[in-house]
Symmetry: C2
Subunit: 333 residues, 2 copies
């Protein structure tokens, strides 16, 4: 039997781990080209919030009673796929379970390197791809940018801060709490904004911009929405580029965005772009080459917050939305 | 003496023509390279609203007591500029007055053609340039677009609808009232949305999109903001391009933009760009060549709403914000 987390209720207000139920599922025999994988690390990610509701619009709702999807890495323990022997380390999307049966075409071999395999759920996986292409393509990054990164202590934001630093930009980054702000500075942010500190985000971003001697930000990588997006519009230079990655401040909270003085969008000639990592799947190789090199050289460090055991998955997921992670949130089996 | 409209009070709530005062101003002798112009047509434009407030952020506030700026066309009646004889027709920005003294470098000769000279305040001038580059560059127009144009009966929108039709796109356009909607259809809109008709803009745009057999709009040229922008986000295809030109629905009305389900910006990978006509001044020639050709061939028609006499300028200006114009709003002296 495999043990699998299922979605058994829709969220109602604040996220509650009780909407997920752990169930035993028969372990089927393998079909042609399938492998059986013993998972060693499971991923929980903010984007998963989007499939829990049936009124969201961000992504299709997962039907109630379905097994949860998500990134996982593990080891092939049985194989009917010609090229993939037992023992091969793989990445797949059948997560939130201990054992998975997956078609070879639906998983990817993890390249041999000195990088820990769980990194393929973080900076060498989907969150890293999100950061890399969101910054370099969607935000049209330039080395002379003054970049603002929101929710910068998370898996995506922590990569954005460091890629921008490696490429020479000046970075202002926000997170919740003194410990996270210290990490942002370690990673290369010139100024870390504590969203829990007194004052509005607009005031705090204004002070940060003045603190680096600038008139405004030239680029923004947004994981939050709400007051962070409003503040960025307020303190943007003419022609500033905004990449919208997520709105963790707003998921499930009535989902309204209120912008003061929206004519600033016109007056400042802002360029605002929504994007998501899969838009760049055909450019995986260039992402992986850069990020693996920076990982192995130590230029890019990867913080991880690790929960232990399959039972911990729902709590780890819910903690993403209350600031419970520094860097990538993971569950180790 | 010249007779000149001055801004003598800030707007307070709805626009009131009483914030402008007509004053006699001494007519100075000409300096080197200056010309004296007898104006024949004055322009009133929505963007002028932005310089009346001292808290707006769209453009610098005009100090109280200053003469109003704005586009005007007229005839040189006295010249100390070598190349510009008496009788030359010129375009300048010293408007809201009967006679102006302007440096040659601050005005432009109107090319000889069969186009009426007041067209250089409309489709052959700043509003036309706004439409042309806003559509073709900021909205990254494609001939297979399903384009939505808001406030499409105005000087800018009427050009956007027709340029898009000339280039082969399908157009949905909005305006207020049956007469304006009839004009939109004459200009080539497949569906005209009456913003005064029952229902929300979201509902009406949804019906229009279904009416042309589409799943959503692929491009949006926005002159309104507010409910039009919200509706466009709701009914946008993945990757839709939005050019934000103005927000006539919101000027001076508390200036808040409320968007439901803002995660659609991410999910739909929207590309939203603020722009303004002066961004494209270095590409004037290509704009003028196309628009003059379409004007002379009759492919592009230019509606005009004409008020008579200098005394009518403030009322004409205020009527822009209550839907008082079909096409370009002008004052003839």
């Amino acid at each position: 039997m495999a043990r699998v987390w299922h979605l058994t209720a829709r969220p109602d207000g604040d996220l509650d781990p009780g909407i997920f139920t752990l169930e035993d599922v028969p372990d089927p025999p393998l079909g042609d080209d399938e492998v059986r994988i013993a998972n060693s690390w499971l991923s929980v990610d903010p984007f998963m919030r989007g499939m829990l509701d049936d009124h969201g619009g961000y992504m299709p709702a997962l039907p109630l009673g379905s097994p949860m999807q998500g990134g996982a890495v593990g080891t092939v323990i049985e194989s009917r796929a010609r090229d993939w022997p037992v023992g091969r380390k793989v990445l797949h999307n059948g997560g939130w379970r201990d054992v998975a049966v997956v078609a070879q075409a639906a998983c990817e071999a993890i390249p041999d390197s000195a990088a820990p395999i769980q990194r393929y759920l973080g900076h060498l996986g989907m969150p890293g791809q999100t950061a890399y292409f969101g910054l370099l393509d969607a935000a049209a990054f330039r080395p002379d940018d003054l970049l603002f990164v929101s929710a910068a202590a998370g898996a995506v934001g922590s990569a954005v801060v460091q890629i921008a630093r490696i490429k020479g930009a000046t970075v202002i980054a926000s997170a919740g709490g003194a410990d996270k702000c210290a990490a942002l500075r370690d990673w290369g942010a010139s100024i870390a904004i504590d969203r829990n500190a007194p004052g509005t985000m607009r005031e705090k971003l204004g002070a940060a911009v003045r603190g680096v001697g600038a008139e405004g930000i030239s680029a923004f990588f947004d994981n939050v929405g709400g007051d962070h997006l409003d503040a960025a519009i307020q303190h943007a230079r003419v022609g500033a580029r905004f990449a919208l990655c997520g709105m963790i401040g707003g998921y499930g909270r009535g989902d309204q965005l209120v912008l003061d003085q929206p004519m600033r969008l016109v007056a400042r000639r802002l360029r605002i772009r929504g994007f998501a990592a899969p838009d760049y799947d055909d450019r995986w190789a260039e992402f992986h080459e850069d990020m693996l090199r920076w990982t192995l050289s130590g230029d890019l460090v990867s913080a991880e917050t690790v929960h232990e055991g399959l039972a911990a998955v729902p709590a780890a997921f819910c903690a993403l939305f209350t600031g419970g992670n520094l860097g990538k949130m993971l569950v180790r089996l």
